[in-house]
């Protein structure tokens, strides 16, 4: 028999015989595995154990060998041969993959859906062999909002919905407002988001520092109109901060300002924040902060001033060389030592600073790649038009360089989102941390798997959506050179 098969060379002349025989063998092998895996029926159980295990593979292999007919003239057959059946080696691999998939569907399906329990709100309903989604249902609020009081959670929802709506403004902006969109997204939107989180999610008596800040900002903007444009850069660098300090420490005293002391919503300390909402808050702010810092250091690394260059290189290489977990350790145990004794920075803020600085180093390297990829001619052309350093970078170099590095920046942001669970080091519990906490609850022992699968699905959706979005952006801003 073997000899004969070797001798048989499927070709076009007796196409039908081979085709029918081959497809029959191929389908019978798949059918056998299918029955075996879905209905626990073993068609060839009468054979010895090992042989019945390997039989489908042999049958399928022979079948695929028979239907491997070049230029058969049948479109679908050619397609199959080209894609999964180019040679013996590929045929076996294809069969193995098909069998693995068929074999793994029933256990996964039964764990996920068929044997899983959804109803009820106590552990008793989870007696089956499947997943216990009741566990997720009961703990949902904790996974989403952490220890945030149940009665106050509408504040988080409202803030996120409002921010999502404000964030989608870009899609509805008319042509006339399009040119302000960058300004909106880079300056105004983060500021609104900050206000929301500060006043709404955190709550409590409104921080009076703010009123000084707002007064200082308004005053300096008004005066700013009368400053000659030559000094405007330095003016906005120095005056607002000086005004703020002046107002806070010299002119007003804290007890005089009642403006800010509005008793509004209950204060919720940052230690109680958590769950997925904390993941979003941290990723959002780190994303906003790490970008400008990274850009500054990327420019610094390419600066012609040696001292600035070396400082930038030192900064970037330091952060890139250490793991994030040690950075967070530093922010937790070492950083308070570096501050004045009566000066306290909130744990969450320290965390955000640490992650932002860490990711900024990566963003800096990505942007530097873009800056280096631009041809020299762009710099020379901008200079020859009489542009200075800042004008050249803002209007000519950076727009092009940033376009080039969209994929890189997206990857860094993805890494940032995936790094947020590490904040468990400083005792903040976002979704993965909450899972670990829920897992140790004596009433709900033994559901670790469900929790991790749930979190994995959520993270996967977020990250996959981000990577697809970045791909779209990349296509949209692609310019041919």
């Amino acid at each position: 028999m073997m000899n004969k098969i070797n001798f048989l060379k499927p070709d076009k002349s007796n196409l039908n015989t081979f085709l029918y025989l081959g497809s029959f063998l191929f389908f019978i092998s798949i059918f056998d595995v299918f029955l075996n895996s879905f209905f626990k029926v073993n068609l060839i159980g009468f054979l010895p154990n090992f042989l019945s295990f390997i039989m489908p593979l042999i049958l399928g292999f022979i079948g695929l060998y028979f239907i491997r007919i070049e230029y058969s003239g049948i479109k679908n057959l050619d397609k199959i041969n080209k894609h999964i059946n180019t040679n013996n080696y590929n045929a076996i691999l294809s069969l193995l993959i098909i069998f693995t998939v068929i074999k793994s569907i029933p256990p996964i399906l039964s764990w996920f859906l068929i044997d899983a329990s959804f109803a009820g709100d106590s552990k008793d309903v989870c007696s089956g062999s499947g997943a216990c989604w009741t566990y997720i249902k009961v703990w949902m609020r904790r996974f989403m909002y952490g220890m945030y009081p149940n009665a106050e959670q509408w504040r988080i929802n409202l803030s996120f919905i409002a921010l999502a709506l404000l964030g989608s403004v870009g899609y509805f902006a008319t042509e006339r407002f399009k040119k302000y969109l960058t300004l909106y997204y880079v300056v105004i939107y983060p500021f609104i988001a900050f206000l929301f989180i500060f006043f709404f999610i955190s709550g409590g008596p409104v921080f009076f520092d703010f009123s000084y800040g707002i007064i200082a900002a308004i005053l300096s903007i008004i005066i700013g109109f009368f400053v000659p444009s030559k000094f405007k850069f330095y003016y906005f660098l120095i005056v607002p901060l000086a005004l703020y300090i002046l107002l806070k420490y010299f002119i007003f005293f804290e007890e005089y300002i009642e403006l800010g002391k509005l008793e509004g919503l209950n204060w919720v300390e940052t230690g109680a924040w958590g769950g997925l909402s904390l993941t979003f808050i941290i990723s959002f702010f780190c994303l906003i902060f790490c970008f400008p810092i990274g850009m500054a250091f990327a420019l610094g690394r390419r600066s012609s001033f040696p001292l600035i260059r070396y400082i930038s290189i030192g900064f970037i290489e330091f952060w890139r060389g250490v793991p994030l977990i040690t950075v967070l350790f530093m922010s937790a145990v070492m950083f308070p030592m570096f501050l004045p004794a009566d000066f306290f920075i909130d744990k969450l803020v320290r965390c955000i600073i640490a992650i932002s600085l860490f990711e900024a180093a990566y963003v800096a390297e990505v942007i530097r790649g873009g800056l280096q990829a631009l041809p020299r001619g762009q710099y020379e052309a901008a200079r020859s038009l009489g542009m200075g350093y800042w004008k050249m970078h803002i209007f000519v170099i950076l727009p092009q360089a940033l376009k080039l590095v969209i994929p890189g920046i997206a990857n860094t942001f993805l890494a940032l989102v995936k790094d947020t669970p590490l904040i468990f080091v400083v005792g903040l519990l976002e979704i993965v941390g909450m899972l670990n906490l829920a897992k140790t609850n004596p009433e709900w022992l033994g559901f670790a798997m469900e929790g991790y699968v749930f979190a994995a699905i959520i993270f996967w959706i977020i990250c996959y959506a981000m990577s697809k979005y970045s791909y779209n952006l990349e296509q949209k801003y692609k310019t041919d050179r």
Partner: protein, 383 residues
């Protein structure tokens, strides 16, 4: 020297700002330490540590010094990184090549693998393997032997230990084989350059690396026996395996998740590298009569490696740094042993965190120096 006064301004401002920030920090640190009565110094490293570590490659117990504890942690970190890098590279190369396979199924399978593991946070994967998947393994008394000698249980993987006689002769034989292979390689290259003849170096090397150690067994008096782990009852329901080598579940979970995660990135690097080689190169190589294997080995890979190596180096660095997540599942790596336990005991926050960071910095820098050297070696030598 074209020194410009104009350039001095911005530089001076930056330097002053940096100096001021650092000065502020050190000043505060000094005052804080004075207030709390902590003195700065690295003297604690030689003190007795008085804590124990679960898993260590060198002999260690509570009576050893903190420096020894540091070494234990460092070695454990290096162990995880090296195993992880090896597995991730093998897996990554396979998946990367599979992604370019003309076989639709293999291609898709590899693509799904990459998309799946890349988009889930590493910490979550570590937790999953450690707390969910490995906890589903059988207890020692219920474990079934794999190939009769391996035991995969909830308490870790037990593998047989090698017991060597005259191990040094065996090692010499391997060294001798490697040296001979290198000499043959150099000779083959010379022959090829001078006479155009090809010597089948690969098969000769394969033969040498098997035959010489085999000879050492037959003539050199080397012998090898295995110590298979055996079940031992401690109490009525408590069993362990004795003998052999045991790998703790933390190590398994960590290497598994690190390598599965990093392999996806390496796979993408490999794919990009192979795709980066011009199509013309492949066609030209095929048209001068090289077989597909030769095309891959002699034409595509040497060129693709140049594109692959720099990003892969980054992935190796990432893996090494990510191994610090070990602290989350209590695998005694540098962060857990030194920046965790030792820090809690001594309270020397600044010293210990700075040593830990410095260690990771040096690890990263040494890996990047090594890979840069290799990269330079295979780069195009332009004439």
């Amino acid at each position: 020297m074209n020194f410009k006064l104009k350039d001095l301004g911005p530089q001076l401002i930056t330097v002053i700002a940096v100096v001021l920030i650092f000065g502020f920090f050190t000043y505060n640190a000094q005052i804080n330490m004075e207030n709390r009565g902590i003195d700065f110094g690295y003297g604690f490293l030689s003190q007795e540590s008085s804590f124990d570590v679960q898993f260590s490659l060198i002999e260690y117990d509570g009576s050893h010094s903190y420096f020894r504890a540091y070494l234990v942690g460092l070695l454990n970190t290096i162990l995880v990184s090296v195993i992880g890098i090896i597995i991730a590279t093998v897996l990554g190369v396979i998946v990367g090549i599979a992604r370019l396979s003309p076989n639709f199924l293999i291609n898709k399978f590899a693509a799904y693998y990459v998309e799946f593991f890349r988009n889930i946070p590493l910490l979550l994967q570590i937790f999953f393997w450690y707390f969910a998947a490995l906890r589903a393994l059988p207890l020692p008394q219920d474990a079934e032997a794999i190939f009769g000698v391996f035991f995969l249980t909830i308490k870790g993987l037990y593998v047989p230990a090698f017991i060597w006689q005259n191990l040094n002769i065996f090692l010499y034989s391997i060294i001798a084989a490697v040296i001979t292979i290198v000499i043959i390689r150099i000779h083959a290259k010379k022959v090829q350059e001078n006479q155009g003849k090809q010597i089948p170096v690969f098969y000769i090397s394969l033969g040498l690396i098997f035959i010489l150690p085999l000879l050492s067994f037959l003539i050199g008096g080397v012998s090898l026996s295995f110590e298979v782990p055996a079940l031992k009852q401690l109490a009525t329901t408590s069993f362990i395996y004795e003998g052999g080598v045991s790998l703790p579940p933390e190590l398994i979970a960590l290497t598994l998740s690190l390598s599965l995660y990093t392999a996806t990135f390496i796979a993408e690097c490999v794919r990009a590298g192979i795709q980066g080689v011009g199509k013309g190169q492949k066609e030209a190589a095929a048209s001068i009569g090289l077989t597909p294997n030769q095309v891959l080995k002699l034409v595509i890979m040497p060129q693709a490696l140049r594109i692959i190596i720099p990003p892969t180096t980054n992935q190796y660095l990432n893996l090494t740094k990510n191994s610090s997540l070990a602290a989350a599942i209590a695998y005694p790596d540098l962060v857990l042993v030194f920046a965790g336990t030792a820090l809690m005991q001594t309270g020397k926050a600044i010293e210990i965190v700075s040593i830990t960071m410095f260690t990771y910095l040096s690890l990263s820098i040494s890996i990047s120096i090594l890979m840069n050297w290799y990269n330079k070696k295979i780069a195009i030598q332009e004439k």
